[in-house]
Subunit: 319 residues, 3 copies
Amino acid sequence: MSSDWLERLGGYPGVWKRRHLLGLEDLSAEEITCILDKAVVFKQLLAEGHRRIPLLAGKTVCNLFFENSTRTRTSFGLAARRLGADVVDFSAATSSLSKGETVIDTARNLEAMGIEAVVVRHRTPGAPHLLAQNIHCSVINAGDGAHEHPTQGLLDIMTIRQLRGRVEGLTVALVGDIAHSRTARSNIWGLKKLGAHVIVCGPSTLVSPRWQELGVEVSYNLDEILPRCDVLNLLRIQFERQTRRPFPSVREYAHLYAMNRQRMARTKPDILIMAPGPINRGVEMTAEVADGPQSAILPQVTNGVAVRMAVLWLLAGAA
Amino acid sequence: MSSDWLERLGGYPGVWKRRHLLGLEDLSAEEITCILDKAVVFKQLLAEGHRRIPLLAGKTVCNLFFENSTRTRTSFGLAARRLGADVVDFSAATSSLSKGETVIDTARNLEAMGIEAVVVRHRTPGAPHLLAQNIHCSVINAGDGAHEHPTQGLLDIMTIRQLRGRVEGLTVALVGDIAHSRTARSNIWGLKKLGAHVIVCGPSTLVSPRWQELGVEVSYNLDEILPRCDVLNLLRIQFERQTRRPFPSVREYAHLYAMNRQRMARTKPDILIMAPGPINRGVEMTAEVADGPQSAILPQVTNGVAVRMAVLWLLAGAA
Amino acid sequence: MSSDWLERLGGYPGVWKRRHLLGLEDLSAEEITCILDKAVVFKQLLAEGHRRIPLLAGKTVCNLFFENSTRTRTSFGLAARRLGADVVDFSAATSSLSKGETVIDTARNLEAMGIEAVVVRHRTPGAPHLLAQNIHCSVINAGDGAHEHPTQGLLDIMTIRQLRGRVEGLTVALVGDIAHSRTARSNIWGLKKLGAHVIVCGPSTLVSPRWQELGVEVSYNLDEILPRCDVLNLLRIQFERQTRRPFPSVREYAHLYAMNRQRMARTKPDILIMAPGPINRGVEMTAEVADGPQSAILPQVTNGVAVRMAVLWLLAGAA
């Protein structure tokens, strides 16, 4: 039976050699494409009504979240369970960290209990890398500060590829709070590797001109770039990550950068509107854009489960 | 095998057409009876030692609780797992709501991950109805402010029916904090539909005389109605839901409304003492009443799991 | 299939008659040995890759934790799931206790929902005993104040027995905060029953001379006893359990009692360094000791899952 699922997936891919997924900056285009291809199969299997694809039966996945999360934690949990894995939920609030234990000791302890993969979110950039160097099981970065959030980047790219048929040659603008966004970083690395043209756009306080050095177009004027874009990924204003307010007011931000009916009239007709969520309605976009025909926000969420199944299987399913 | 369970349940009932359970006010007597009849079968199956009745295998139920809960959340979780469903626990404390997301967006996101039923508790009356209008999966109201708590009403009525053999013609008094009690409302609608005589009894600050317009007897004097009652449902004084104290003191409340040995001597000998819990011992009743031979408090809890299995199956088990 | 597992375990042991595990003080040497022997088999089965040994299929285990915990709650949860049981996680933060319910009422309610075992942690010594007297299902003490933590004692002893081949005749020192340590108490009772020589060692403010009356050696000088010890169990300084600081400074404590390279040079070469964790690196021991070749800290954690599988099976698996 396990072999039937493997057949549907085209076998365990020879190209895949990694034990950890720490960021898209490290991956080759071939590796990213491998994950996306497998995610498409998992999505198809889910759509056919298969809710238990027990390729990770007997394995245990630990959600080790040191920051609040709804969708990412739940999405990984569902992905793991649909692969037949057990899931251990660990959150900072109920942990021994309040007793002074280090993150590495916590992870080592969980590993000693018999866990095959750790999905970690931490406010410190590099925390997942530190874990990967110190434990033997697979580490998946579910967001490390403003650094990377690779599965979010992957599900965004999967959504573009599925709804536009390709990534190469498309113009994708990431709009808003680039400075505090791990989603932006993962998207930039992944999209560039697959041949997209990437624009980062937002207030100058939130968008560094140095992105140009990495081959990314920098813009401070959404209206100017709007007609050229195939995809807009509207990043959330991360109020909780900012020590000082980087723009005069939310109203001012929305005036310059929110997608609304007027701006939609000036885009390509088949533009994709994406957002990593949770969205602030009225800030990054109006309700009619969020719920409108060009919105890919909910397909992104659906793809997230498939992408995470693919990642968990590729990392923990080899043996 | 699934067909064996269906046979024990007498098949999926033709009378059941609903996708949501929002309140007992909406249901017909026939629909309420249908739920109770199926709950009796599930209770019997559990009593025979069947702990896995996989009628919802491959389905996912999400507990979406925006208020603290022990028994309701756990009871739904156990009910779902005994039906073979996966359970996703979502609580406000760890959610994106702290990032400003709306309840509807949260629910839509969960739905996009592939969830068949949402069990929701929220402090705002009508929040489950709002969700039901905006998402496609089943919504079960697990308590919306002081409005309704339909599965609590159902398990109360199931307990009466089982221990008294009928509901019609019985006199059931709801005692205490009627104004803040969703349990009271769900009991009133359900009991009236099944032909019981309902009395609401408590301090005038907590019991509106307008209940009379709906065919409910209103009393401010427990001792006066006591000899006529077949069932007393002693509602919890919801200290946490009150902005001002509606009676001079807890001692004064207990003096007038607490069930104790003296009052028990004046009831019908086969009176049922019920309480939705958690109980405040010494406030709504003394310990000897709570733990005494007429107490149906723990059978209520046991029936709760069976009622919730019936509801989940009826709502999510059709396809 | 269930009979195959039973065969591997040598059958359900006739010596085991208990329904609860409240402390090692109550157990005979024969009962302790029975648990350890079964734990060894479970550890072997896990090592062979068996992750689902469904001896408790259809049973439900409730983690009823009124104090923060990582490893104990997770370890019990994994143990229960590997035995095929359902796990209900209940924590004080989301419970009806904030509504004034008693611990006994909470447990009775959970039991009425159909639960076979309750794993309870509470700050009050004796709370598990109170539950055991008032509910019918199995109660496992996962830590009651400074009183006992029997599964921690068992996993410590299992680790000693496995890595030293025996317990009888060994000299085991418990170092540090004896006064506030439930781990110390459970170790003392268990180790004494199996014939070890036990030393308690720490500052006089944390080590009572009255332990001598129970046949335990008392020392205030680690350096003096060091060369005689076969095992050092370095207890965590429980900063959160102390109302007043019992020693001048952490630096002073570490100077007198921390295991470091210098002290390691004066021990027997095959000494075992153990710690119940979470450890405060630099307080009870330096990093090089914690991560060094004599450290048994992670094997302790691995053994914890096996010990808890054995306990859950012995208590809840008979019927």
